[in-house]
Symmetry: C5
Subunit: 354 residues, 5 copies
């Protein structure tokens, strides 16, 4: 399946809003994890049935329900019914080929973005879709597979570290987004170091592998760019949403989040430029190398060709060829050859080809 475009063929011809899971099934059973807290209380448990969530939803505490696994369309439908989500929101949650976006609905804000990680073995940046539904009193997060980058946030909640327990739902949302964007930054930095390392190899080594490396990095950078740019754009919109989900005191943090997103984007663009330059250096290197080879061949041929020709003359079988008779002819001949060789080398030295 094309990596850059999830195939929508499955859903073609179906009525819009009908639920189909588009993606690879990455786990057996969907797990639902609830964290509910305020400044004083904390509940953390695994839910068997989405209906259990109902009573947390209404309470004023911060309710965060996280879903691992998306292939159970019936469950997602049930979630949609309990939390009154628009059918198209559900469709988007299930379609893992979404581009990052933020949508304001009457009762909730819907956010789609990608969690990324760098796979050292394949050299590819892998992504997993994360959908967030941010209601007035609850936050739903949907992930494709178990394991995420949110553990430090959960730890901060459990240990009442920082201001997370005393701030509301918006701060939790910010913390999750911050963790993801920090992770983008980290991946860009990791790739960036490899790219900067390439810089030094490139002038020595003109193997085909280098060019392939450059193009691989370029593609990964493009892939990052495609997924980070829309995030930056909606982070920019966050403080100006119609709904007043984000409180005034959280806004400086959103500003900070935007700064990091901007830095990540700037770094991506910088590395893309650097890769272009590297490609040009590589191509210039190939040109230079060809010149060097040709120079060698030319000099080598030019020195020997006339010498071989002269040897050829004295290899002819003319009956009357006076030079052949003299006693020192051979040594004069050898001396003359040497003279030719030195003249040629001198000529090339003057031409600065040597």
């Amino acid at each position: 399946m094309a990596r850059f475009l999830k195939n929508k063929t499955l859903s073609m011809g179906k009525a819009p809003g009908e639920l189909v899971f588009i993606g690879d099934k990455k786990m057996e059973e969907v797990s639902i994890r609830l964290i509910d807290y305020d400044n004083e209380h904390l509940t953390e448990c695994e839910l068997r049935d989405i209906k259990e969530a109902a009573r947390y939803k209404e309470s004023k505490t911060v309710t965060w329900i996280n879903f691992h696994g998306l292939h159970d369309t019936e469950l997602i439908q049930a979630v949609g019914d309990s939390f009154e989500l628009h059918p198209l929101t559900l469709e988007d949650i299930l379609n893992t080929g979404q581009q990052p976006k933020l949508e304001e609905h009457a009762d909730y804000v819907f956010i789609v973005l990608k969690m990324m990680r760098y796979d050292e073995t394949t050299g590819h940046v892998k992504s997993e879709q994360l959908s967030m539904v941010l209601g007035e009193t609850f936050l739903l997060t949907f992930q494709e597979r178990p394991g995420d980058v949110f553990e430090p946030v959960r730890e901060r909640i459990r240990k009442q570290k920082g201001r997370i327990r005393s701030c509301g739902l918006d701060y939790l949302t910010y913390s999750l987004l911050d963790t993801i964007v920090d992770n983008y930054f980290h991946i860009v930095g990791h790739l960036g170091e490899k790219i900067e390392d390439l810089e030094e190899v490139i002038l020595e080594n003109l193997s085909k592998g280098i060019a392939t490396d450059i193009y691989t990095f370029k593609r990964e950078m493009n892939y990052l760019r495609k997924n980070v740019r829309p995030v930056r754009e909606f982070v920019q919109r966050l403080p100006r949403l119609d709904s007043d989900i984000f409180h005034e005191q959280t806004k400086p943090f959103l500003k900070d989040l935007l700064d990091i997103s901007n830095q990540a984007m700037d770094a991506i663009d910088l590395y893309r430029d650097m890769l272009s330059d590297q490609l040009n250096i590589y191509n210039t290197g190939i040109g230079n190398h060809l010149n060097e080879i040709m120079k060698f061949l030319t000099i080598f041929s030019a020195v020997f060709i006339p010498m071989t020709f002269i040897a050829g003359i004295y290899g002819t079988n003319f009956e009357y060829l006076p030079e052949l008779k003299y006693h020192y002819s051979y040594f004069i001949f050898l001396g003359f050859q040497l003279l030719i060789a030195l003249t040629m080398l001198g000529f090339f030295k003057r031409k600065r080809w040597l």
Copy 2:
């Protein structure tokens, strides 16, 4: 006829608004197909005469009249008279070289766009013009030839599947547009897979055919881009039209339609970039190949040229050439040649040309 520009010569000198069919006549007779429905009733029939449509036009039911074939200018004129269309709208319907656009008129909205399909044999994306006239109670669609991608929509209408029967004309329009844009997406994905496949071939194979393939894909992508971009632009305008044809409850669907258009455009741009990269890889490959060939030639010549020269020396017929007399001269000579060959090879090894 130029593929990228339909010739307007036929209409030159004619008064504006005079009807001329510009395009290839693709079928014998124009067929007119009517579907009229509301939540409870459904009429589907072939019309002989456009006048029959009059009574459906006035009723409050959803009326969809589809025309296959455009070459009958008199019929189009009659349609224009019955539905009070502006002469320039009729002219645009008949000119199949239109670019996609949306025009708001006092009583109707006029949409022109392209239905596309990928012709596997020629490798070309073929397009057919679709004109839509969206009035308050009727939708007219004009196609160049029989056969379209709307069958699933008709099926949904017939079987009362999804919300199509309970929603109005705007939802029908949305459904048709959705089908077309989904199809764009599908074609981009199909071409995209071929492009991604090329990636692996390109490093092995430097045949001229590869470059031609890349350019062909590039041209098709440009062709898609030219036709998809204006669609995305008018889809963006749909929810903000002056006329209140699109109801509030349809707007989330239009938003979804815009998302898909955006994804299609993004994918097109991504593949265009990928093709540019592939071209560069190809050209780098050619440079590398030339280097490899030249290296081989240089090494080969450089090893044999001096050896041939020395053989030439002992082929001369000087009367006094002392080395020729010694008994082991020949074997020393052979050994010396071997030494030269090894020295040269060692030299190239040190230069890393080997």
Copy 3:
């Protein structure tokens, strides 16, 4: 004289507004042609003196006065006096190096644009400046030379064809502009066909002529672009002019005119991209060709160089060279040469150079 920049040297140092004709004098005598009509009457005649125009100017009929030839600065001054034109307008009419533009004055709208035609012999797009002064009751048009593309419009006026006689001055202006823009479209299409034809030649033929052709087309496209783009821009402004010269009922036609201008511009940009691609294909072709030549040379040399060397060894005159004595030496020698040749060819086959 530079083709892309009419020399203004003549007017340097002169006071602004002083009249100087800048351009080539393309005809002997200036001709003044008047067409005056309304729904019922039509007058068409040649004027001897611009003063004759005075009474038509005041009447409510549509008055169109066309000037062929611009070198008679006194006449232009007289026109300026009769119709109360600003001195800078007169200066612009006389300077044929103007870029297309639209200027709103208190009493009239001043339009400058280019009529173009494709000269098949030189392969150049030739242009002629057309200035239009659109007052409340009169339209003045100034051309550099006799002959224009307006004959069909005149014909429509004479024969009362279409709506031209029943509509006012604004519709006449639109009709003239439409004719000119249609003509742009036609020229782009004509060049476009030649460019699309080139596509097929380019892969076979790497003669220098092809590159020159591509650059010629590119320059012509740039020339067209330079002259069409500002037209599109002022066509876009036409319906929003301060003066109410353009009536509501003419506006759909202006919209149509804008559509055609947009299509022409899009086609120009498309063909420019196509030409860039063709150039790249051409350059890739040159690279490929060089590779092919080098491969041939390398293979050829590599096969014969060692064989020639071995022949050289047995051409030496060593007294003791045992192989020379054996009876079948020569045939073994020939066989060995053949073996070398086949080995080399096999080697190249394995390297896929053959």
Copy 4:
């Protein structure tokens, strides 16, 4: 000193507003020239002391004081005191590395721009900074050296030619700007002609000099662009200044000035594109040339290499080499060589390399 960036090192560490002359001292003594006129009177004289200017300043006549030479910082300070100029204005007048700009101050408008001339010997566009201070009743102009392009304007003032004497200070300012911009236009045209001439040479001649020429022209065009673009921008702002220095009747002239600036900028961009194309043609030419050379070498070698090899065979000293004995061997041998040569040539002809 870097040509594209005047060194500000001299002023580093100094307090802002402290006066330092940055530039080359181009004349011995500063000269101050006053022209004072209205419709009836005209005074033109050389001033010894800036204090003499005081009485002209207050009068309602048009007062134009021109300074040649800037190195006398005390004088400039005195001017600043008399005419109440802001210290930063004075600093800008003295720093000849300014970019063109327009600044509105409470009592005056400050304009900086470059007068340019093309130095035929070096092929460089040379520039001289002109600063204009436009007060309500006076115009101060500061030039670096004697000699300018304003003589025709002075002539028009003296001879009461055109409308200059009857119009006010704003028209004088316009006239000076017009002269400068006309001059830009002239220089662009002059360089443009040279560039268009290059077009014809480029296909014949691949000497290194051509490439250098192209880059030289490109740099000069960039230099022009850098200095003309900001002029165009402030010319565009002139009619909309807060201060009402420019009267309604001068505005059409400012519009005309903008047109010329636009034409100059368009021409610059056009020539830049043309130069890029020329570079590409040149590089394509180099590629073609290399191909031609390689083809020749390959054909030549390929014809002679096998012939030389066969001659080598019959030069071997095998005792039993039957062909050597036959009487016509030599002639058969020569015939065979000819056959090989013809075969090779035929082969290349079929490959279209010949």
Copy 5:
């Protein structure tokens, strides 16, 4: 560590707002320097404890506290407490990988930018982060290491030079920014001169080093651009800040600051273009050089190859080879060889390869 991206790994997983120093510890102990002045008094001293600053903070005099060294997070926290800074501001001060930016807070304006210097030995532009907190009565500046470019400003304060002592905090801020931006300008000019020098070398010398130099300069220019562009942007915003920190009389100076920033950016862009051109010239040079080498090889081979072949013919051992018998054969043979050489050279001369 990647130069273009400071690693944020240290702060990952930590709660936002928690203080971590990101950067290299560049000095042992943090030094705090206070300058407090108004028109009449001046206090300059080293502070041991940030609490000492409290009383200066409240006074109406201009208070400038400068910190050298950032690694003491506790101190920074104490500063934050005394001056009521937002935790994210403190975090930004400590993270030396920030991009230049300006943030408006309720009580202060926070500015981050880079001080740069050119390291002649490595050829790199080095940067040090400078954070400024501009309150109503105090200015805090944070630097990474001792030594800065502000000494001339301090000198002006001490010596009451210029208007600095009589103007307020805003003028001090402007003076510091001016010094930094002037320094950017100086670095660009310094690199610019090296780049302009390269221009002359580039046509003579095609060593690989030149290409590396060009890319090095390009990278440094990009690095400068990345750090100067945001400065220009916030300088543009300075006069329009919500807070009225900047008085009306300081605004012309801010305008001047913007001019210099613009000139620096323009110069950077100009030099980037120049470097691109140089790269193209270099690559064209390589192409030309290859052509020259190939021409030489071709001519040389083409002259000797047929001569060697003919020598080979007369080296054959055919029994009946009539030419060998004639007495003058050898001399005719030599003459013929000469004739061939001259013919070939003539041929190349006609082809203009010589």
